[in-house]
Subunit: 362 residues, 4 copies
């Protein structure tokens, strides 16, 4: 029915519903001997955590993670907990399961949500907060991503919001330091200011808006990827498209490359100290499904949050026409919190391929 495992060598299996007892994941295939602390995982989770500004959902969840297995330390490890090569189970309890009236989403399908499709597939659904289809599951991805980062030394993964609604950032002003300074993970301080006003307006309207996220990995050695059906770009496309509300993914020039001529698109090379030095990166760091050694550049589009206050036409489970308003505490721009999730997915994909690459294996 469902398929909740991601990755081939570095395998992440997630579980949990929005308003269930707990959510979490099992990370299998992590190499032994890596130092790993709860604090490191928690730090990543805290970046994604709801309720940190007025621009994300006001649900209050500490998202406190526990490690149940797969690490061990004693005096030989100088008290540090190291991974042991066995599966690492992580659990995050749901604490803010606010008792509320779910009768409306219980009986009607929210437009743009997975209510109808889950019902069509399973015949039953945990409708509380969207159940399994809730973006809350991405907390487990972020936790797994924190482990994945430890697997890929020397690789830096950073993501940023580069467009909100119709407003793209000015790439000339790109400053990675800015990303941590505003509630939008935006690398352009001017755009961040604009987004503040813009999103306040959206929020006041009870509406929501889409966004574009860019995630970049630097320090990736050439040759990562597993052609032909484990290509690095194909795995990234699946990874990003699997994030809630994502409707498009591109690598490098992406859709813009359709308008390019051959001589403008194919990145030329000159001899470098350390292999070929590319003179451009239209390819976004991937050729033939394999990394070139250049930065890997991936972008994806997030649709506007479907939970809005405007009344919408829909049908009930019984097949009658209805109107629905999705009250509750929602992100007016769900793309914002997708930024740390994007980094986590990039980290998981790269960890998987890094292990292949390191081992020269299948």
């Amino acid at each position: 029915m469902s398929h909740n495992t991601f990755g081939h060598l570095f395998r992440v299996t997630t579980f949990g519903e929005s308003h269930g007892v707990a959510l979490g994941c099992v990370v299998d295939g992590c190499p032994p001997g890596l130092p790993l602390t709860v604090a490191e995982i928690q730090a990543e989770l805290d970046r994604r955590k709801p309720g940190q500004s007025r621009f994300t959902t006001q649900r209050r969840e500490p998202d406190a993670v526990k490690i149940l297995s797969g690490v061990f330390g004693d005096d030989r490890t100088e008290g540090r907990q190291l991974t042991t090569g066995t599966p690492i189970a992580l659990v995050i309890e749901n604490t803010d399961q606010r008792s509320k009236d779910y009768s409306e989403i219980r009986d009607s399908y929210r437009p743009g949500h997975a209510d109808f499709t889950y019902e069509a597939k399973y015949g039953i659904r945990d409708y509380r907060g969207g159940g399994r289809s809730s973006a809350r599951e991405t907390a487990a991805r972020v936790a797994a991503g924190a482990i994945a980062r430890k697997v890929i030394p020397g690789i830096t993964i950073r993501a940023a919001l580069v467009q909100m609604g119709p407003h793209a950032i000015d790439r000339a002003r790109w400053d990675w330091e800015e990303v941590a300074r505003n509630p939008f993970f935006c690398p352009d301080p001017e755009a961040a200011k604009l987004y503040e006003t813009y999103l306040d307006g959206i929020r006041r309207d009870g509406s929501s808006i889409g966004a574009v996220i860019e995630v970049v990995a630097e320090g990736v050695p050439p040759g990562l990827g597993a052609p032909l059906y484990g290509k690095l770009d194909a795995d990234l496309a699946a990874a990003m498209m699997s994030i809630n509300a994502v409707k498009g993914v591109e690598i490098g020039d992406g859709f813009a490359s359709a308008a390019l001529r051959g001589e403008d698109n194919a990145d030329e090379m000159r001899a470098g100290n350390d292999g070929p030095a590319f003179l451009a990166n239209h390819a976004g760091g991937i050729l033939g499904g394999l990394s070139t050694g250049q930065p890997i550049v991936c972008r994806f589009a997030v649709k506007p949050t479907s939970s809005i206050l405007t009344p919408r036409r829909t049908v009930t489970r019984e097949g009658r026409d209805a109107e629905i308003v999705t009250k509750g505490r929602h992100d007016p721009c769900v793309g914002i919190r997708a930024v740390p999730v994007a980094e986590a997915m990039m980290a998981c994909v790269l960890a998987d391929h890094y292990l292949r690459h390191r081992g020269q294996v299948g």
Copy 2:
């Protein structure tokens, strides 16, 4: 190292290099009892076959497919060959392995191609015609797709070229009948005329150009997909991104949805005879990774062919600066022949999920 199998229940394993002995695939997991003839597979291959117009490579390959296993017929089947549920092996011999001088691409890396990355990964590469990284492999996908189509009765899959270079079609003129009438698989007859002139110019310049392909599946029942890591859109994104030269994939409104407000994006519903009737299809037929029952709409961008006549700066295997011109018989717009490949990949993904859905299984 490599990973050449696609799909979970309907599994396709492809093999073969551009100028090797043969290429082909093994299709495993195909249900028994389906009538299957060589002619049906050949018909699909003929649509992708090179050398059918001056707008595709002049390499002459009959691409004649043979079925080695997995079908059986006798008088009880009235002489028809039926699938038996065992693996179906298909082989296409390479006949036009024109003996030529490969010394240039043997020693230098063609910009935009996988030459450098394959060398980085494997330390050895079959450089003849691109070896395994050649788009010639997509013949095996098209053959597998012909089988996949038999698995999904009632589902119609059609693809079309909707943009060449900067020139998008006019959607108001969309006519599926037109697709078979021009050498571009273009549904807009006016655009097709324009493309003819335009691509002649590109070809005369020794250049190449990108394109956008749209593939649509109609008749898909609601509930297909396997959340959270086998979402229908994630699998489609991987499938399309795995096609040679693809740099971006989108579902429904795709990147345009980033600019939409919630009330404009989420497709409303009214009671229909047969489940909810959607009033729009911004979602491209997929919500929460599951099909809605609406047409599934997927688009992808293909970069311009990297093999062009303009001299390009590059480096040699030994790390010296060089210039390279890729002579030979190349597609000026590799996006054209991606159209039947897109249909095949859509068919394979849907066959995989259709089998899950039919069996209500994992």
Copy 3:
């Protein structure tokens, strides 16, 4: 490194170490709509639980299981918790992590245990109680097996201990009812009496002894299995061999069939009401890797517990000769508690193939 997932459509991922925080599993691919309670899982766990007689380890663990996800109930389900088709996470906390001196097994390799091999593979090991290699992990299997049983209605799975040390039961006295009446899961009451005296002697000697377990599944429809590399018997062989201390597996007549002539081995058939009626079951219910509809009969041999009080020659991590005595609370015949584990593994394998069969899928 490690691979902790079992099954293809009904997938069980286990985690946890003997003396870690918790152990458990994630069951993915379980069909929706099945009633599932903690009590049902707990009942199976209680059969495997340590400390229930003087013949099993005196470690005291309540083995209380919690369901973290994948079930849901409301008034529409009449208050029952039903599976939702999403992953079911189960957790069992370790409570009896008796603080003890592990210095001996920390520094020396216990003969017959995985101490040396885990160290060779991972370079680090959680030596407390055997860590991940401990039979304690089988609690997670039993929990998963309780869910698997719900997936296969009409199939009865029962296991029994049929040999302890050199003492085989008398099959003429086989009575399934007896299995629950003695602490050995023995179907022969006379043998059970003998085992009591015999195992007391073994225990007093500080020694241990091997055993043979037989597991039988009745009500299995014909045609379950996925040739050629997902044969039912091959999957069962892997499942049983993966249980701690198992050294051999056989189906039907097993090794005895080597001495048979063709006419004595191949089970003849006569027309039955409901398909062929077999006149014997030398095949143990499996032909060509597929179930015949007869009872599936599988036996496996369990070696004696390697933790014994007799001093044994070994080496230390530093490579010096040493002697070791494994104190602690050990099962004198680890085969006994393998009985419910065998049932669980049979249930998981059959659930996997039942789903394939039901869906006629790959």
Copy 4:
């Protein structure tokens, strides 16, 4: 439905029926840069080839293998063909598809064969020579095994027939050199003489007989295996059980270990030059699912060929009682030709785990 791929990192997908056009396999995940010739694969196939003595089927098949992909050579490789890391497709055409009357096995189920179960599963079967369930498929395994051997340098894999019917060899006379000197792959020259007379008698009676095969791998480094569900012994059990007619598998002392006491079973160690030196090998070289560095010893039982001349009771497809005699060219002891197949399966399993081990990956 079916599942025709074996292995995780070193993946073998086989295809083909006994009397179809061809059979073969695709080997994916083979490392690049290994010299590989048709002659090397052919040499292994020739050991398994039918018709080499009066003790195996008289079907005449050259079993000539072709390599379709995945190897490449030029002057840089000094003319040698090297693996390229891409999938290696191997094909063996069926030439001796003797046109014969199959009406009997078409309409009746041969006892002991997969006729009934394939029909139950698929509803259709290629009955000619057993179709996909024929032992002819093992030719593809042997071909894949020849490649697997190249992946595991320093590991020697040898198998032998150690029991025919009730007659076990005398292990004191074990001489690996003898295996190539008699038509039984028997390491005991005296037993081989006995088998000659014995099997002539069986053959004259139109009967058949079972056998036990032992396969031994030497030079395996410690730490191979992937606990808990990719244990080396579990994978070997599945591999051997997947061979036609196998009914039991054991590792090391196997079933005999059930009768052992702890102090007799667990292999003691002393300090060696190169890690622990084991003082015995009851474990058959595997502890906790991981290799110890000692020889890996695996045995399996093969039932007697089900195709015999004695009339047997059965039923027809239409459900009527019938008698059947299986004429044709059959192996009186199918265990004989299982010897090279056992080596191939051991090689494939070890190649898979060797790659994991080498890469310290998942």
